[in-house]
């Protein structure tokens, strides 16, 4: 009997596929998410829109909040640690969270190294903006990838940009010659074998979700049609006027992402979506996606 293997780490992410992972800050939120059909929740002290508004240093959530959410629901619970903050990650593992998100939404703790995730039994999900970043995170031991988008913006444009960049990167690798593969691996700063694996599979070797800006059922279905295997919804649900209804609608749209009639139906009468931000209006030093490398 062997625990913490690569297969069980990546396998849990495979069980998330076609599902929605929702940010929650209270046990009540977590129950609403579970009832709506979320496949997991992300336990936080503040949703990204509030983290953005509050400013200052954003850190791992208070374990009391995480534990209360773990008690409230039977679905998997994720929690975030700062980029490179391996002690926050160790604490989250000790709490028994099911997945750790090494997240750019929190203030990075290390400007050189991400967490060496192979050292942990708990699996990690990490953000990326393009294929090279995804491969570097995989090399460090991430068992699941998500595109970064721009968290707390309520604007899907960055999520689309990042998902397209990952997919274009994969196509580039698939069509590359032996010599070009070496060049690409050097550019991505990863071992050649990793790039060869992408060429062989024609996809990432782990599950890839979309994140950062999903606010409507149509946003979720858009990311699925662009190649995401599921979606994270952060501020989009609990910053809207009717979280219960919106959460259910996004879950349905993610399953039925190729069915325009269902997407139209579930998009009716959802109330107000979260107020979004024009990415161009966000000062470049405040863009969360540029954290990490």
């Amino acid at each position: 009997m062997e625990t913490g293997t690569w297969k069980v780490k990546t396998g849990l992410a495979q069980m998330f596929k076609g599902g929605v992972i929702m940010d929650v800050v209270t046990p009540e939120h977590a129950k609403i998410a579970e009832e709506a059909g979320a496949c997991a929740v992300m336990a936080l002290e503040r949703v990204p829109a509030d983290i953005r508004a509050a400013g200052g240093v954003a850190r791992m959530a208070d374990p009391t909040v995480i534990e209360a959410i773990m008690k409230a629901v039977t679905i998997p619970v994720m929690a975030k640690c700062r980029i490179g903050h391996f002690v926050e990650a160790q604490a989250l593992e000790a709490l028994g969270v099911d997945y750790v998100d090494e997240s750019e939404v929190l203030t990075p703790a290390d400007e050189k190294y991400h967490v060496w995730k192979h050292d942990f039994k708990v699996p990690f999900v990490c953000g990326c903006r393009e294929l090279g970043e995804a491969l570097r995170r995989l090399h460090e031991g991430a068992a699941m990838i998500r595109t970064k988008g721009e968290a707390g913006s309520g604007n899907i444009v960055e999520a689309v940009r990042h998902m397209r960049a990952v997919m274009e990167g994969i196509q580039l690798v698939v069509n590359a010659s032996e010599a070009e593969l070496k060049e690409l691996a050097t550019g991505y700063r990863v071992p050649l074998e990793q790039v060869k694996e992408i060429k062989k599979l024609g996809k990432l070797p782990v599950v890839n979700f979309a994140a950062g800006g999903v606010a409507t059922p149509a946003d979720a279905a858009l990311m699925m049609q662009l190649g995401a295997e599921g979606v994270f919804v952060g501020s989009g649900i609990f910053k809207s006027s009717n979280p219960e209804v919106r959460a259910k609608a996004i879950v349905k749209a993610t399953t039925h992402y190729r069915d325009p009639a269902i997407i139209a139906e579930v998009s009716k009468n959802l109330g107000d979506a979260m107020m979004g931000l024009d990415i161009k209006q966000i000062p470049s030093e405040e863009l969360l996606a540029q954290r990490g490398w």
């Binding site: 599902g19 059909g37 039977t74 679905i75 998997p76 879950v251």
Partner: protein
Amino acid sequence: MKIGVLASQGAFAEHISTLQQLDAEAVPVRLPGELRGVDGLIIPGGESTSISRLMSSYNLMDEITSMARSGIPLFGTCAGMILMARDISANGTESLGLINIRVRRNAFGRQIDSFETELAIPVLGKKPFPAVFIRAPIIERCDSGVDILARLTDSTIVAARQGKLLVTAFHPELTDDLRLHRYFLDIVSGKS
């Protein structure tokens, strides 16, 4: 032979790929109409509450129940097993209530307790099966008509069959071993 794979949420693509390796036609099922003409149905792993909500919203529960009652074989893995069980211990998840077992969700603990093991499954022959348990349920009790197919070394029941209904607490779709899917296809074709 056409096998439907419930595609509301979870690891349905892995089941489809495994079935294709065995030359079976595999179709994803998200709506009741897609069940038409299938000779068998797989309910995959995923989150049982999530799958259950999605099944209820489009009336798949009733369709699948009447399908199983009419003798069409079903195979449930992990969350699929939970959804096929008659009883779920201490839980509000709505199940199809098809197979005479009582299951307990997340019976081994949280994700850090998920594990792989070599499992003896006598109906598949002597070679052990590479079983992957992810936040897995167990079968706490089997009632009349249910045959136990596999137990862990501590005798916990993790696979069972009742007539044409097959359930496993683990994920054969995450491994290269095709024997359980072949066994299910034999049930569908009437060979087993």
